[in-house]
Symmetry: C2
Subunit: 338 residues, 2 copies
Amino acid sequence: MKKTDSPTMKDVAREAGVALGTVSKVINNIPVGESYRQRVEDAIEKLGYHVNSYARGLKTNKTNCVALLMPSLRHPFFAILTDELTACLMKHGYRSLLMITNYDPEAEKKCLILGQQNKVDGVIALTYSPNLDVDGTIPLVTIDRHFGSSIPCVSSDNFRGGEMAAEKLVELGCGKLLFMRIGPRILGEADKRSAGFEAACRRLHTDYEQIILNDEDTEAPFYTFLSEHIHGGKLDFDGIFCNTDSLACRVIAFLAEHGVRVPQDVQIIGYDGLADYATGRYPCSTIVQPIPRMAEEAVKLLLDADNIPNPVNICLPVRYAWGGTTLEESAVQSIQKS
Amino acid sequence: MKKTDSPTMKDVAREAGVALGTVSKVINNIPVGESYRQRVEDAIEKLGYHVNSYARGLKTNKTNCVALLMPSLRHPFFAILTDELTACLMKHGYRSLLMITNYDPEAEKKCLILGQQNKVDGVIALTYSPNLDVDGTIPLVTIDRHFGSSIPCVSSDNFRGGEMAAEKLVELGCGKLLFMRIGPRILGEADKRSAGFEAACRRLHTDYEQIILNDEDTEAPFYTFLSEHIHGGKLDFDGIFCNTDSLACRVIAFLAEHGVRVPQDVQIIGYDGLADYATGRYPCSTIVQPIPRMAEEAVKLLLDADNIPNPVNICLPVRYAWGGTTLEESAVQSIQKS
DNA sequence: TTGTAAGCGTTATCAC
DNA sequence: GTGATAACGCTTACAA
């Protein structure tokens, strides 16, 4: 992997017949005599010169590089978030150093150190460490994980999302609800979905149950639970809220195999709002996270850190979207038609 | 976005009461007196020191950083490929600079320049430029796009994949095949899918048609074509090969809406082999690309560039996988059962 | 084996 | 407005 070494500012200066400082000024858009500027630009063109951002970074202590800590890109939520973050950073003149941690707290720590070595200007992290020890030496913004008041966090309005799901199910005629959750053991912002759901159920005087699992568990208990609540092809619940679309899909598949019809027998709402890449359709009725805005706010928070008085928690509004697993008016019609 | 500046080697040297060079040696694992090593390590620990890879890169002309040029992360193929590439690079001690080009040749050029400025040690690119002008100053490996003999390219065995699809359909009893393709106007490795499909059809004396569109077109002509070939709920073709799973999914949805049953009336095979993130199932019967191996080979090719005599095209074996849209024995049984 | 000093490609501070 | 020159933090001869 050899690199033929590229021309330096010195080469450009020699080629243009000017001093080093002049070249630097041209590059940094600092006023300089027009004839000089022209000569320098010609020389740059001729030699195919590019600034060495390492040398520059060394001098300026600014790298225009932000580390992105993601658990994985196999899940479309992370992939799309990373896509948006990178686009956003690029727009602001920053590049993304991508670090995949595979949900491993050790790897997260290592990546954070790598970021520090690399003198990134900041870190945007979606982590699974209970207590990522950030020494405060580098600006950090987290997503969906609140690390205490000193670190800003961006998330969708999970509480409201949970409320919306419950409200919607009740509005569509459900009277006996179920909340299903599987996720990391450590509690993140996403766990407010459950709290919001509960709050709404209480407020609406609606019966509900919750079944909660951790990532280390298998999902088997879910299916045992569901089986025990199916009697003669009828489920004891008429509305289910799953904490992710992904879980909702699996639950739907399970119910289909057991003769329970969705949405006729039971209506289901998920959370995430990730459209299928092929068809562009939501895999289920869902609470949609505003991923582009989340990316935007995270970047803004990171780059403006100096101007923001107190670290903030930014909680972005979600919306409900129909995805075929609930009985909206329009859906009812099309089902009746067929 | 302020960074309290971090300790330097000089600080460590002072703290440990040794010379600068000694600290450097400890860090680079160059033999040094045990007592010195200990003192230095203690000082590093105490100060929370990290090497500044910018300073190091400036000196060594090596950054341990590779640029990844991707069109997008919204498509799971790119997302998973990026995931694998990053993991692979990390394992070799390299970090990934992620650049998203949005399929825009201009952006691709700009990103390549950014990569050069950033003095990355190499670039792995999946591009849509007809002629990315790489000045050869930086090692480049492409994926799915062959830029001439001087640039190594990694791809799945698209030709063989096309053959396999045709062979499989014929083996499963199809006699009138259709190949559907939509993709970038410029021809890449992926277009060998069509050639392989044709070759196999000819060899097997099987009737086939092809319908080819470019990304700039809408897919409307596909559906017009299909409509014209549906007579009384029967399609004129009994086997379809789509150049991506994504297209296959849309075709399947269209056929379903028009009363053509898959796989009973027509069997369909796609290409990519991307399992659904929620259920882990293939969205259709498919030719599976070996994404992990593609990543691995691309990284190896890039890092070993010096030791590889001639730039090579690496063509990795694909495999067929059943995904519910073809009539395998086992599938036939389960359909008859129901 | 340890310490010293030059230099990597920039930027920034000065005299000019 | 222009051109030397000293840093930035590190590696690496080379001298001690």
